[in-house]
């Protein structure tokens, strides 16, 4: 699976907020390989969603570049851009907000098809019904409105809408965060099945670290707009190298009655600094239990510690 689908090169995205500029994405570089599931994890405000949206061209990068199949996304021709938009789709967190309340399920699903394919009305209708069955709904849902559906059903419609364009890549932004545990498992199973059947590539954004471990090939950990560690899932969970990753993973609640995860975890002091006023040096230094003078002066680069395991920390490079 060495074929690279997306390549981000020191990608930056800043947002102006009054006089300050919030560095939502501050120079991240990574690849997404064809057919894999890469997960972005991190706490709220760390830039996960901005990263996905910048990759998909929803946000213009402030600096840096995104290569798609080796082509610079910002320099795609008109025709290529249309293909880019069709092949790369997104699933959103809030199934209540991502569907137009005035459109029936069929209208939502068919909207993209009208733009990208020259199907007849009958073809569109039969495609829609097929898609609804694929995502575990029935053809009867076609004429319903979003308010008649439950959260899990809406999320399925969101997935069907994305699949309507026959994409190769799906960016899933917290697809299960708004759902109940029993419904989460349904949606995750659906996404895994679709990936197997259609050879999809996923960029998964989630703060549910247990689920991420279950579904990902590789995981990237973000903190304040930077990737601090990226590695194969098992390597990362078995042996996290960055202190932030260690703290994050040790804070995962464990559903075992005797576990003392609360006491045994690596504790962090303080909270995430305001992304508008990030201190110099390593972003994580103010909360890091191992921070030294060097960490407060210069930001560590992301370097390969072991095969495929990249970390941005001075301490691990000693």
């Amino acid at each position: 699976m060495a074929e690279v689908l997306f390549q981000a090169e020191s990608l930056k995205r800043y947002f102006k907020s009054g006089k300050t500029s919030v560095k939502a994405l501050d120079g991240v570089s990574f690849q997404i390989y064809r057919g894999e599931t890469l997960s972005l994890v991190g706490e709220s405000g760390c830039g996960k969603t901005t990263c996905a949206r910048t990759i998909l061209g929803i946000y213009e990068p402030t600096d840096g570049s995104v290569l798609w199949d080796g082509k610079e996304v910002s320099a795609l021709s008109r025709k290529e851009r249309t293909a880019f938009r069709r092949e790369n789709q997104m699933i959103f967190q809030d199934p209540y907000a991502c569907l137009d309340p005035r459109m029936t399920v069929a209208m939502s699903i068919e909207e993209g098809m009208r733009r990208h394919f020259s199907y007849s009305m009958a073809e569109r209708r039969s495609k829609t019904e097929e898609l609804l069955e694929t995502v575990g709904l029935t053809a009867e849902f076609a004429s319903r409105f979003p308010h008649e559906l439950s959260g899990g059903q809406r999320q399925r419609v969101g997935i069907a809408r994305a699949l309507a364009l026959e994409p190769r890549f799906l960016a899933c932004d917290e697809p299960i965060a708004a759902l109940d545990v029993s419904i989460q498992a349904q949606i995750i199973n659906l996404l895994m099945r679709l990936q197997k059947e259609r050879g999809l590539t996923y960029l998964m954004i989630s703060h549910d670290l247990t689920m991420v471990r279950h579904i990902s090939d590789r995981v990237a950990v973000m903190y304040l707009g930077s990737i601090v560690e990226i590695a194969d899932t098992e390597a990362l969970y078995e042996k996290p190298l960055h202190p932030y990753t260690q703290a994050l993973f040790s804070a995962i609640p464990k559903a075992e009655p005797d576990s003392d995860w609360l006491k045994e975890r690596l504790q962090l002091t303080g909270e995430i600094p305001d992304p508008g006023h990030v201190p110099p040096g390593c972003n994580f230094a103010p909360r890091c239990p191992y921070a030294s003078e060097r960490c407060r002066q210069a930001a560590p680069p992301l370097t390969e510690q072991e095969q495929g395991h990249f970390v941005a920390c001075w301490e691990t490079q000693a």
């Binding site: 109940d180 279950h214 703290a247 559903a255 504790q267 962090l268």
Partner: protein, 338 residues
């Protein structure tokens, strides 16, 4: 351990435009002194409504608490107290922390004034003394620079800090019972762990009981002494954390536990997903509320609600599978295998 709070047969009905929603259906449980009792369930199962009904915080125009419900706190039935008597208990002997701290704090008042207001409404303290007490409380919940914080407004704090302020307010009158309704749901994992640990430390230090309401089975392990699982407005299983996690008896509890991926599972293998969705609470549901989604459902399950039964003391369950003549099944999840 003595009994602190005794809820008996609590039922709450909401009148909506399209029918009566029976949100809580005859719930009974006991909170003992000094324990942490966790109430777990999915959204809409009635856990928050139960908590609010205990303190009579439900809107009187839409919610009706049935007349045979009893909420006994230190021998007094909270449901029949006068407003004045109730106010002496609310925020005093029973404190409450809500999920969304930003919505629970007054955005136009400083943190200090809000805490002082709470203290002075229950205790005869001068402004200066109350302010000193507020400062102590902020120290108690481990907030840095409490003096400066008293003059700040809620929007100037982070989510974790706001939740700490909420806890400080709830603790302002040394409550015997703290009801925490999803106190960490809106927070990130590292902050969540901090808040849970703080709650645990404070509970020991102040020797209070905690009723922790959450949808996340994960945070319950290692925090709660007792766990009770709610589904469709009824309590379906009660037990110690050990009971619930290691030998769940109700198929729903077992399903909840298997819906979370485990270390022992092969990566990318299918998770056990419960089919269907939770029941419509407008329906009468004289049967087991879980019957429609249960893979072990028998004809009786769809006819009649099972009684609460338990072989081991403290671990009880409402399920027909517990009937002595019911077939023995190995539930998926827990040590029962599956």
């Amino acid at each position: 351990m003595g009994e602190l709070l005794n809820v008996k047969n609590l039922s709450v009905t909401f009148s909506a435009y399209n029918g009566e929603v029976k949100a809580v259906r005859g719930v009974s449980f006991t909170v003992y002194e000094g324990e942490t009792l966790a109430m777990v369930g999915e959204s809409g199962c009635g856990k928050s409504v139960t908590a609010k009904a205990i303190l009579r915080l439900l809107e009187r125009s839409s919610a009706t608490v049935s007349s045979n419900s009893v909420v006994e706190f230190e021998g007094k039935n909270l449901l029949t107290l006068s407003g004045k008597e109730l106010n002496q208990i609310r925020g005093n002997a029973i404190g409450m922390v809500f999920q969304d701290a930003m919505a629970s704090l007054n955005p136009t008042m400083t943190i200090g004034n809000q805490i002082i207001e709470t203290i002075r409404s229950h205790k005869k303290l001068g402004k200066r003394e109350a302010s000193k007490r507020a400062c102590e409380l902020l120290e108690l919940v481990e907030l840095p620079e409490p003096q400066a914080l008293l003059r700040r407004y809620p929007h100037e704090l982070s989510g974790g800090q706001r939740q700490r302020v909420m806890i400080a307010m709830a603790l302002s009158c040394d409550p015997k019972l703290l009801i925490a309704d999803e106190p960490t749901t809106a927070l990130d994992v590292t902050i969540q762990a901090q808040i849970l640990e703080l709650l645990q430390r404070l509970q020991k230090r102040l020797a209070m009981s905690v009723l922790l309401i959450t949808h996340d089975l994960g945070i319950v392990a290692g925090v709660a002494d007792g766990v009770q699982v709610m589904y469709g407005g009824s309590l379906i299983e009660k037990g110690t954390a050990q009971d619930i996690f290691c030998s769940p008896k109700h198929p729903y509890t077992a399903a909840l536990l298997t819906a979370i991926p485990r270390r022992s599972m092969e990566r990318r293998s299918d998770l056990y997903a419960l089919p269907g969705t939770p029941p419509d609470l407008r329906l009468a549901l004289d049967c087991c509320p879980f019957a429609a989604r249960c893979k072990y459902a028998m004809p009786i399950c769809k006819k009649q609600m099972p009684e609460e039964t338990g072989e081991t003391p403290g671990h009880s369950c409402r399920c027909w599978l517990q009937h002595p003549m019911a077939p023995r099944v190995a539930l998926n999840g827990g040590e029962a295998g599956g």
